[in-house]
Assembly symmetry: C2
Homo-oligomer: 240 residues x 2
């Protein structure tokens, strides 16, 4: 059975303005690769309701799993939960189980559980909560869409909460060989090798530093023996 | 006149597998913000022809400017130029001016200008070359789509070559205030401030480190006096 396919939707003006360098995409890519989920597309959109709803509907129709990051805090620019409700045509309001989690948290802190904080308990009808051990305010899963926070420490904790619920396939294995030749010299034999192994993917990533140049050739696949075999051929083609 | 809108398409399996952390998106976001171009969407897709062509067509129809990064080298996984040609229904072949640049480069290096390297001179009919002072192989512009390399040093040099050709608008200015209170306490007065200044955008980005927590509130806009005014109000609302 092929691995489930996935897409990620990163929501936030701060990424698109260059203020913040996104870290969640790279983290999720690594986790999904280990878990046997094929991340096939990422989109980054701003805090704009039509843009978010449209991307959500495109991605949830095209991929088995969709993960979002960002926009679930208490401030006016946090509109992700409402956009998910709109995308699914679902009703959204403060939900008692989420409210109770947050109420207990702020009581322990001796902080006011005010209207803004209660917004973080707005969950679309039919969603399943995603545990947030870092800062309590939960994420949620609505069918195949998993809605998580943008703050990296919270995002990472939510991914850990979510992964056991997603049935992965064979992890994508990879091995690489560093070849000290120009990519243009590697290209032809590498292309022929790739054609002999259509079940694997071969990437070539050039580097150049301090006058030393070459390429890292990466072989990826779900069958370790096939990857080993291609790596052996690669080493024969390009001896040190 | 409003600023031109832009989207970026990052092409590469290595980003989606988590092997490489993308750097070009963050760089382009910062450059476009300074240049007065509003980056509104980024997509990352794998080295897959239908995925690239479909994303190219969606983005070039929806945005004034589209920048791509990745997939223009000499190896078999470099398919971006052919995908751009397909998206535009344009013919593509080795073009003499690009071929001459590369031939001279490899002659200077005493390296073989072989078939793989000649692939880097494949340019769709009607495109304008983008100068690459780092490694010579050019990018190209096809109408509103600007095709650039994925290697960060080359991408950055190509952006510098391209920017003078793109008419920007007013740079997006931003100022921020670090507020040592929970986001939930900031949310209500900040939301009211944002409503009083619909021409500005207000973002709130929580932080938490070593038990110290709060939020960076960022005010963005194209008019410096308006941003100053909102920052003064913000400082009054949240005195140190």
């Amino acid at each position: 059975m092929p691995n489930p396919t996935a897409a990620m939707l990163v929501i936030g003006d701060e990424i698109l303005s260059g203020r913040t360098r996104d870290a969640n995409m790279h983290f999720l890519a690594q986790e999904f690769t280990k878990h046997g989920v094929d991340l096939q597309e990422v989109r980054v959109v701003s805090d704009d309701r039509p843009a978010i709803v449209s991307a959500l509907n495109a991605l949830r129709a095209a991929f088995d799993v969709v993960v979002t990051s960002g926009g679930i805090g208490p401030t006016h620019d946090d509109i992700t939960a409402d956009c998910v409700a709109e995308a699914f045509g679902a009703h959204i309001d403060v939900r008692e189980d989420a409210r109770a989690l947050l109420a207990a948290h702020y009581e322990r802190q001796g902080a006011d559980f005010n209207a803004a904080r209660q917004r973080m308990a707005r969950i679309p009808d039919g969603a399943v909560l995603i545990d947030n051990p870092v800062s309590i305010a939960p994420g949620f899963s609505m069918e195949n869409v998993h809605v998580m926070a943008g703050v990296p420490s919270v995002f990472q904790a939510m991914v850990a909460s979510l992964l056991p619920r997603i049935t992965g396939g064979a992890p994508l294995l990879s091995q690489s060989l560093r070849i000290y030749r120009g990519e243009g010299e590697i290209a032809e034999p590498l292309g022929a090798l790739a054609q002999r192994h259509p079940e694997l993917s071969f990437g070539s990533y050039p580097f150049q530093r301090d006058g030393v140049y070459g390429a890292n050739v990466v072989v990826r696949g779900h069958d370790g023996a096939q990857v080993d075999c291609a790596m052996a051929e690669l080493a024969t083609l390009f001896p040190e």
